[in-house]
């Protein structure tokens, strides 16, 4: 028997949510067909900004993928718009001309971005900001560089501007009003926001009325009313939205600003429901997801015969620009019958709007942690007279006693909303934790959807888990790099890549460093991450390096230095030895010692003598041995098949090849290698960061050994038959470590953290990936294989090696 058919027009946030509730209520109630004008599945539109900025990918923001439709028996027709509804025959017509019958129809067509009817508005290069196509157009334009002009300084416009900036474009925001987001913020707070936006390198022009968009075949600029012209290759219009109701109107349904619906979300035709931004409910058109999530439940109920009622929503929004905290909720417009409480501190602005001792609106800038608490007060409509004086300071002061943040969350009532996007309240989360034994953030996300959309309530959800199960909470504990930031090493690295951050100040600004210029812990780490990420582009910040790496020698306890020239594979020559001996005598170097890495250490060199010492060693062909570097140190070898009666392969030769390929590279921590010619292992390769043990069949590659504070035997990564493959694997492994290792984390610690299987998967099992890593290593070596000693002999950073002044006794005594 044929099932009742439901046709859904539009497949955005609202339609997706209705389907979820419908399937949950009754999987078999309808044969569902969804028509989506966009040629794709259902994704989280509110996360387009992180996609634009590069912090997320399209795959990350999918809500329902193809498998979901298949599994749930929902037919999705992608890229096919509905162009007509015939209520007489209960059919819809697609753009392609096909006609489909329905028993029930759901209109979820969302809204259309407003387009100002300016000359030039149809030129290629003029885009709106609504769907993935728009994002792709913006990203394509951004890849060409140049300037983008964003018209509109509201939430959407600022998110677009920040995203384009993160993609490397120059960006100008044009805003009609004197200050940004004037509806939410007073001028002083608008200025704070403007400064924060400008700090990101985005130009903001207020009181800027666009006169025309310029260009013949494509956008070349924008002209303002005052005659100013701004050259650009992209114009983004983000000036507002209008409910998309043409289809409903043509079908003769009752419409006003949007498609009119009753509290059951039915249109004027009882078989046709409407939901989302296309509707007008009780005189209100919404532009946020929370209301449509609430009303989606009612639609699903209506479709399955259990009538519900939607009575409207109070909404809250957040600006999703990383590093700028802006929250607003409720009704914050100025009016006669209202009072305001305003609080300001450096970088912080808070405004509460009260009417008759009830909180009706809140705007928080810079410090938004109390947002959900205020939002709850707004929704509950409770009388706040008792705590009016301390209200602005949030829940911590509400009860007189300051509470710690976890206690404050614990103190929230059960119906306090935690996740605004998904309308999840505290009680739901707490009972899910109890009933299902949830103990991690991911669990809670999966089961309750809390923190699963925009993620801004994540800290709240985490505190709630802690408040509920205490120590059992499996925090994805991220240890901050240092006290200058809350971010861990991995997050910082991800953001450096995602946001294309190319300098230490950029990282600190963009990632909201808490100190003005970092400390001795974070700066060397950031410097390394930037060196690693942008070979050839990033200019090393020598002031962020430890002294040894800054002067390319090892500081000793008396402030003198030690000098270790490279001896490739531990092989030297009479000429080299003679040069070393001469230098030692010439500069009165007190101590000459053979190191564990098969080379010679000259100890006790005065700093001023370093360049001259290097000059003499350089004349004999020697370069820096990098004995001070978080980088390649030594490749220790045995004599191998060339001399040894047990040797299976030319271990000395291979060691030298490896050292020649790898010298100069910077790594998270020092890297020492060993190559042994047979399993007797005279080069002690099995306690090195990377080791090779030659066997008859080829080369056994080892890694993750240590022989320092910790002693650890290596693990075998793989066995390969040829030298070429051995080289390729070693370079690829080193690059993987360079990209994943946290600063100062030795290979064995990195391997323990990420797990040997993931390393094997990348380097051994997948030749393609191995090649990519090895190539990246070789590419970066082009820029790093410059002998730092030779450079300094020629005068680089001469100030390092000479005193600023020498002051005689007389001058000073005067």
């Amino acid at each position: 028997m044929d099932k009742t058919s439901l046709i859904v027009v539009g497949n955005g946030m609202a339609a997706g949510r209705v389907l979820e509730h419908l399937l949950e209520a009754d999987r078999d109630a309808y044969a569902v067909t969804v028509f989506n004008a966009e040629p794709r599945v259902n994704y989280n539109r509110i996360m387009l900004s992180p996609v634009l900025s590069g912090e997320k990918t399209y795959e990350d923001i999918l809500i329902h993928d193809d498998a979901w439709y298949a599994a749930n028996g929902v037919t999705l027709v992608k890229g096919e718009a509905i162009v007509g509804i015939d209520r007489e025959t209960k059919t819809v017509r697609t753009a392609g001309g096909a006609v489909h019958g329905y028993d029930k129809l759901l209109i979820a067509t969302g809204s259309n971005p407003l387009i100002i009817p300016l000359p030039g508005k149809d030129l290629p290069g003029v885009v709106t900001y609504r769907d993935l196509d728009d994002v792709e157009k913006m990203m394509a334009a951004a890849s060409q560089g140049g300037r983008a002009v964003v018209i509109g300084g509201g939430l959407l416009g600022l998110e677009a501007a920040a995203g384009l900036r993160a993609q490397g474009m120059e960006v100008t925001v044009l805003h009609l009003m004197p200050t940004l987001m004037e509806r939410q913020l007073d001028p002083a707070a608008g200025y704070l926001l403007q400064k924060a936006i400008e700090d990101r390198g985005i130009e903001v022009l207020c009181k800027a009325n666009t006169h025309a968009i310029l260009g013949d075949t494509t956008v070349t600029g924008v002209k303002l009313d005052d005659g100013r012209e701004i050259a650009c290759s992209l114009v983004v219009m983000a000036v507002g939205i209008r409910p998309n109701m043409a289809l409903a109107k043509d079908a003769g349904l009752a419409v006003n600003r949007g498609v009119l619906v009753d509290d059951g979300m039915r249109t004027s035709d009882p078989d046709i429901f409407a939901v989302g931004e296309c509707v007008e409910h009780r005189g209100v058109c919404y532009g946020l997801v929370a209301p449509l999530y609430e009303s989606a439940k009612v639609v699903a109920a209506g479709l399955t015969g259990s009538e519900g009622a939607y009575t409207g929503s109070v909404t809250a929004t957040k600006l999703k620009v990383t590093g700028i905290d802006l929250f607003s909720a409720g009704d914050f417009a100025d009016a006669k019958d209202r009072q305001e409480i305003v609080y300001r501190a450096p970088g912080v602005y808070k405004r509460l709007v009260l009417r008759d001792n009830v909180l009706i609106g809140a705007v928080l800038y810079g410090e938004t942690a109390d947002g959900s608490w205020f939002f709850d007060l707004i929704k509950s409509g409770s009388d706040i007279s008792a705590m009016r004086d301390t209200l602005i300071f949030g829940p911590a002061f509400a009860g007189g006693e300051p509470l710690d943040p976890t206690a404050a969350v614990a103190a929230l009532p059960d119906d306090a909303q935690i996740c605004g996007c998904n309308g999840v309240c505290k009680g739901t989360i707490v009972s899910a934790i109890g009933a299902k034994g949830l103990s991690s953030l991911d669990d809670v996300r999966a089961v309750t959807k809390a923190s699963a959309s925009c993620g801004s309530c994540t800290p709240l959800v985490e505190k709630l888990i802690v408040a509920t199960i205490g120590d059992k909470y499996q925090a994805a504990a991220v240890e901050p790099i240092c006290k200058c930031t809350d971010l861990g090493h991995d997050e910082v690295r991800r953001m450096i890549v995602a946001k294309g951050l190319r300098s230490i100040p950029a990282v600190m600004q963009e990632l909201s460093w808490k100190t003005s210029c970092g400390c001795a812990k974070c700066r060397p780490a950031l410097n390394y991450y930037l060196v690693c990420e942008w070979p050839g582009e990033y200019e090393d910040d020598s002031q962020s390096r430890f002294i040894n790496e800054r002067v390319h020698a090892n500081i000793q306890k008396d402030g003198t230095y030690s000098v270790v020239p490279r001896m490739w594979g531990g092989v030297t020559s009479p000429a080299e030895l003679r040069a070393i001996a001469d230098v030692a005598e010439k500069f009165n170097i007190p101590s000459v010692k053979v190191t564990g890495g098969q080379r010679i250490d000259l100890l006790g060199v005065r700093k001023e003598d370093l360049p001259a010492v290097w000059a003499d060693l350089g004349k004999a062909g020697m370069i820096s041995g990098a004995a001070y570097a978080k980088g390649l140190r030594t490749v220790k070898t045995c004599v191998g098949s060339e001399w040894c009666r047990f040797g299976t392969q030319d271990s000395t030769g291979l060691g030298i090849k490896i050292e020649k390929a790898m010298w100069g590279s910077w790594t998270p921590a020092k890297v020492k290698l060993g190559v042994s010619g047979c399993p007797r292992n005279c080069a002690e390769a099995t306690c090195k960061d990377i080791g090779v043990v030659c066997v008859e069949a080829g080369y056994e590659i080892h890694f993750a050994g240590a022989a320092g504070l910790h002693v650890r035997q290596t693990e075998v990564l793989t066995l390969v038959p040829t030298e070429e493959e051995a080289m390729e694997i070693i370079l690829a492994l080193t690059q993987l470590y360079r990209e994943q290792g946290r600063y100062l984390e030795r290979i064995y610690k990195w391997a323990k953290r990420v797990g040997t299987p993931s390393i094997k998967a990348a380097i051994v099992d997948d030749p393609e990936r191995r090649r990519v890593y090895a190539d990246r290593f070789r590419f970066s070596q082009q820029f790093s294989q410059v002998d730092p000693w030779a450079e300094r002999v020629k005068g680089l950073e001469a100030h390092e090696f000479a005193p600023m002044a020498e002051v005689g006794f007389k001058e000073a005594a005067e």
Binding site: R523, A805, A812
Partner: protein, 122 residues
């Protein structure tokens, strides 16, 4: 103004070089009869001078990483305030602060008390 300059230069100030000679967030050494002085330039451009010896084990502070108004000693990571010469955090100890005067981009140090400072510290 002239009057003031006059009195200043009449005093103990010894010219040691230009502010530009010191790398930003870096340091240079001034050698004196009474030992080394480390002259620092912080990220905000301010110039400080300390005796070039960490109160812990005598490490050369001029070789440390400069951050904010502090320097981290290269030997054992003590953090020393450039303003007061005092060790920060859990460590305690103090390095002598040397007076600095910057005029027209030229750095002057007050070395008058240096011999006594050095003796006192040994």
């Amino acid at each position: 103004m002239n009057q003031m300059l006059q009195t200043r230069f009449d005093g103990p100030w010894v010219k040691v070089g230009r502010v530009d000679d010191i790398p930003l967030q870096g340091s240079r050494v001034v050698k004196t009869h009474g030992g080394e002085v480390a002259v620092f330039k912080a990220a905000d451009g301010r110039v400080f001078a300390l005796r070039n010896r960490c109160p812990h084990k005598g490490g050369p502070l001029s070789e440390g990483i400069v951050h904010g108004h502090a320097v981290t000693c290269p030997l054992h990571n003590w953090v020393i305030s450039l303003e007061t010469g005092e060790a920060q955090g859990a460590d305690s100890g103090c390095t002598k602060v040397i007076g600095v005067l910057v005029e027209d981009g030229v750095v002057h140090l007050d070395l008058s008390r240096l011999p006594r400072l050095m003796e006192a510290a040994e």
